[in-house]
């Protein structure tokens, strides 16, 4: 326990300088006086060194993959190759406007076109679109496509339901609701889809069944071919949540498993940095039935030229400005080029090996609710911690003191006091062993220490209840509460 995060008593940005005097913004010729800002923007005037030092200190109070292991299950926190950062900052990539004439953006169009084809091969789909901005956005887009498909078949009134297992990521039901579907959860059996329960729930009302495979319990749904047959037998579509694709790269793919449509998270499997919560890129792949509904534009190749094709009469239209998060697409392209066929297959083998190794070791200390052959991640139950009067949350906080991030906690919800752990292929055996030792030390620690954790981060345990009960969400709220030493003009 030699870990210590930086602990700066860094003032708020607005306490570093006087905010603006309440003067009006400058008058601009031709702009009606009524439109002129009566009180100039209230934001501090700071020197560049002050700003840089402020944010550098904040960065030192933030934990990233480059700081240490990040075992968040289902988040696939792998090393983000530095070369991708270099390439995304090339003027030819960063200083390119989406509304430039096509003749001037041929390189980016070609990279997008090539990436789409690589991802089509990896996923086994007919076509791929790079447009959605994140995984949940991809889910939502895909469900709108499913909806458009049934509208075209003349059955939009009938196909109103989306089915999903109780282990589904929360985004699945949320996206289905936004797309106007009613959701129904299928209870799992031993951590996997209960085929009987699924068959009983499928009907002519079912538009789609959404599934993650391997699922959030880390288990491969071995009955996937039977699931696909049942779903298609009911006339419904099968949706693949690609959050966990990392585990099966090159082994199988959604197309081969019988899925009709999928989203992939480039920030998971293809190592684009997650940026503290985003940006992501929620690429979608579709089989022949649903491909015509993909958002416009599509990247097309005509001879040696590339262009944006808007002539897709069955397309749902747009879900975002421009064409996808190109900065991330480029990083993912570089990642795939570097790995190649063997590298991609190696990713899945090593990620699954790591997970099984760590699962076996930690399974000696905490119960594993399901079968022990897992894929990219595994789930433990922290329920026995109750015997010493602590919870999974305390264990998670205590782990922060070990210089590692905590796993995903309290998900999947069907496991009591769940811990969901994923350490992908970029983590060495040494890191796995050190992480396991950290968990073991935490488990052996006293209840008092567990409840008092963390003690090595920039702050101690945070009062989340107060944050929700008395929401203070901006500098304006701080001013209103009078709880900060702010120079109010």
């Amino acid at each position: 326990m030699s870990y210590r995060q930086a602990r700066w008593e860094e003032p708020a940005l607005w306490d570093l300088a006087h905010a603006h005097a309440p003067e009006a913004a400058p008058a601009i010729p031709g702009v009606p006086d009524r439109f002129r800002r009566r009180q100039a923007l209230r934001w501090p005037e700071l020197s560049e060194p002050t700003v840089v030092r402020h944010y550098t200190r904040l960065s030192q109070m933030n934990f990233g993959i480059d700081s240490g292991v990040y075992p968040l299950g289902s988040c696939t926190m792998k090393y983000n190759p530095k070369v991708s950062e270099l390439l995304a900052r090339r003027p030819g990539a960063a200083q390119l406007h989406p509304y430039q004439p096509e003749a001037t953006v041929q390189g980016s169009l070609e990279i997008s076109w090539r990436l789409e084809r690589l991802l089509a091969k990896i996923t086994g789909f007919h076509e791929v679109s790079l447009q959605p901005a994140a995984g949940a956005h991809g889910e939502y887009t895909a469900l709108l496509m499913v909806k458009a498909h049934f509208r075209e078949l003349g059955e939009p009134e009938r196909r109103t339901e989306v089915l999903l297992p109780d282990t589904a990521h929360g985004t699945n039901p949320a996206s289905a609701s936004m797309a106007g579907f009613v959701t129904r959860e299928i209870p799992s059996k031993d951590g996997c889809v209960d085929l009987g329960a699924l068959k009983a729930a499928l009907s002519e009302r079912t538009a789609c069944f959404m599934l993650t495979n391997p699922n959030t319990a880390g288990l491969f749904e071995s009955e996937i071919l039977e699931i696909a047959e049942a779903v298609h037998g009911a006339g419904a579509m099968l949706y693949y949540d690609g959050a966990n694709l990392n585990a099966i790269l090159g082994v199988t793919n959604p197309g081969r498993m019988g899925f009709d449509i999928a989203h992939l998270n480039l920030h998971k499997t293809f190592a684009t940095p997650h940026g503290g919560g985003g940006p992501g890129a929620g690429v979608i792949g579709a089989g022949e039935t649903l491909a015509p509904y993909l958002p416009v534009p599509r990247v097309a190749k005509a001879g040696r030229r590339f262009r944006l094709d808007y002539d897709r009469p069955r397309s749902i239209g747009k879900v975002k400005l421009a064409y996808g998060n190109f900065g991330l697409d480029l990083r993912a392209y570089a990642f795939i080029l570097a790995h190649g066929e063997e590298g991609l297959k190696h990713i899945a083998r090593r990620a699954v090996l790591n997970s099984n190794y760590l699962g076996a070791r930690l399974g000696r200390r905490l119960p594993r609710p399901f079968r022990t052959l897992v894929k990219h991640e595994f789930v433990l139950s922290g329920a026995p911690l109750r015997e010493k009067g602590v919870r999974t949350l305390d264990l998670a906080k205590r782990l922060l003191d070990e210089g590692v991030h905590a796993p995903t906690v309290y998900f999947p919800t069907l496991v009591e006091e769940a811990l969901m752990i994923e350490l992908p292929e970029t983590e060495s055996k040494r890191e796995l062993d050190e992480f396991a030792a950290a968990v073991e030390r935490a488990l052996d620690d006293s209840p008092e220490h567990l409840r008092a954790a963390p003690t090595s981060c920039s702050v101690a345990r945070i009062d989340e209840v107060r944050a929700a009960r008395e929401p203070v969400l901006s500098w304006k709220d701080v001013r209103a509460a009078g709880s900060a030493k702010v120079e109010t003009p």
Partner: protein
């Protein structure tokens, strides 16, 4: 072979041995044979320097903005990025972190997001902002769904002048719950909203919200935005605003907006061929529980010291699932960081003077183009800031853009829906001098446009 997959000292053998397995193949025995793959066909692995060479070879086929005098208008901007912004954004403690689920270990990003929320509250003039959405268009889509949670009805009003991409995104967000986006016509001379149409539509009932933009899709500042709240009454009012414009314009909260959304890319984020971008969203405090997406709150730690955390999570997908206010999980945190660092490095006076200088350039160019036969600029008789609409009396925007491109000028962003079969409108461009454009480039644009006009519209 790059060394990103760990295999220090043959450690895989040790891992397999610990598991008592002969090979990793055993770990996939639960994948049915019929679902197994042969070759992917994605090519062989490459060394890092080969990857760089290959990507650079492709990127060389691009002609980046630096090679042109740039006049592309619309929601995506190209401005000089102070080097300090990327120096912060490129700090790996920030960019390699995940969503700050463990607040104690993530105070840096949480505080930066709190500062970002504070800045959008100050710019927008409404009470609470979230920690970002994907882009301006999807933020408008979330605003549409937000309005429907506040008010009954089936119709959502938007200006007919709204850029086609945003109309299309809004139509998709509306289509889920079976709602309809309806266009409010504009006056052909001024480009201003038909307020009578809004009044009638609201009077008939069934309208659950309206979105107006500032500047609008033609670059216009429509003074009627100040009257809209009175016209709408209880119907929620969304304003889509440009953050740079808000450094000099009255914040929409001051004239009754219930929601203020925007595209934040122009603050510290390179255009990157269209993404990542940054969706801005703020609303009134009384509607806080309906806010979509992540939000950061200030609180204290166990010792009473200031601390920050993701909060009000019972609105969100991971708790509320199908009844969440939105499906947002990943947002654009790193871009939100860029936004607040940019604004802080440039400062409020710097932002206002940047917008003032862009407005001057736009005025100079518009008056130069307006005097050319066959061109109408600005097309509409209404106030504008840094961008305006150019209408061609003859020829096509495609030909005009192509001609000027050959003279290293990006003439503007064509307006209108490029999808075949969509109504063919007048030939219009949204023209916005970028900050790097000076008198010389404006003169070059005017000369090239005059030549195009003289050659009878390039037809």
């Amino acid at each position: 072979m790059v060394r990103w997959i760990s295999d220090e000292a043959g450690e895989e053998a040790a891992l397999l041995q610990a598991l008592g397995l002969p090979s990793t193949e055993e770990l996939f025995r639960d994948v049915p044979k019929k679902a197994r793959l042969g070759r992917l066909g994605v090519g062989a692995a490459r060394e890092e320097e080969e990857v760089v060479a290959e990507v650079d070879r492709l990127l060389e086929r691009n002609r980046p903005l630096g090679r042109f005098a740039n006049f592309l208008g619309g929601r995506i901007a190209s401005r000089y990025l102070p080097a300090a912004v990327d120096a912060i954004v490129a700090r790996s403690e920030f960019y390699t972190s995940y969503t700050p689920y463990q607040a104690e270990a993530s105070q840096g990003m949480l505080r930066a997001l709190f500062e970002f929320q504070s800045l959008w509250v100050e710019l927008s003039g409404v009470d609470v902002a979230n920690a970002s959405l994907y882009d301006g268009a999807s933020a408008a889509g979330e605003a549409l769904l937000f309005c429907r949670r506040l008010h009954e009805g089936r119709r959502f009003l938007v200006p007919a002048s709204l850029p086609w991409e945003e109309k299309s995104v809004l139509a998709n967000y509306a289509s889920g719950p079976g709602l309809v986006v309806e266009e409010v016509p504009y006056d052909d001379r001024t480009g201003l909203l038909d307020l009578g149409f809004v009044r009638n539509a609201v009077g008939k009932g069934d309208v659950f919200g309206l979105l107006a933009d500032v500047p609008n899709g033609f670059g216009i500042l429509d003074e009627q935005l100040f009257e809209l709240k009175a016209t709408l009454g209880e119907v929620p009012y969304v304003v889509a605003a440009d953050p740079l414009a808000l450094s000099v314009l009255e914040p929409p909260g001051a004239y009754g907006a219930d929601v203020v959304v925007g595209e934040g890319q122009g603050f510290g984020i390179p255009p990157s061929f269209g993404g990542p971008l940054l969706g801005l969203f703020a609303c009134r405090r009384e509607h806080l529980r309906q806010l979509p997406g992540r939000v950061v709150g200030a609180t204290v730690d166990a010792y009473g010291r200031p601390a920050y955390t993701l909060t009000l999570q019972t609105r969100e997908q991971h708790i509320r699932r199908s009844r969440a206010t939105s499906n947002i999980c990943t947002n654009e945190s790193l871009m939100a960081l860029a936004f607040v660092v940019y604004a802080s490095v440039v400062g409020p006076k710097g932002l206002a003077s940047l917008e003032t200088s862009l407005a001057e350039k736009a005025r100079t160019l518009a008056s130069a183009l307006g005097s050319i036969s066959g061109l109408r600029a600005p097309r509409f008789d209404a106030p504008y800031l840094g961008e305006f609409t150019l209408e061609l009396g003859r020829g096509t925007t495609a030909a005009f853009v192509d001609r000027l491109r050959r003279r290293r000028i990006l003439a503007g962003t064509p307006l209108g829906d490029p999808r075949p079969g969509s109504p063919k409108g007048p030939e219009r461009l949204l023209v916005a001098p970028s900050p790097s454009v000076g008198e010389k480039e404006i003169a070059r644009y005017a000369t090239a446009a005059k030549a195009w006009s003289a050659s009878s519209g390039g037809s």
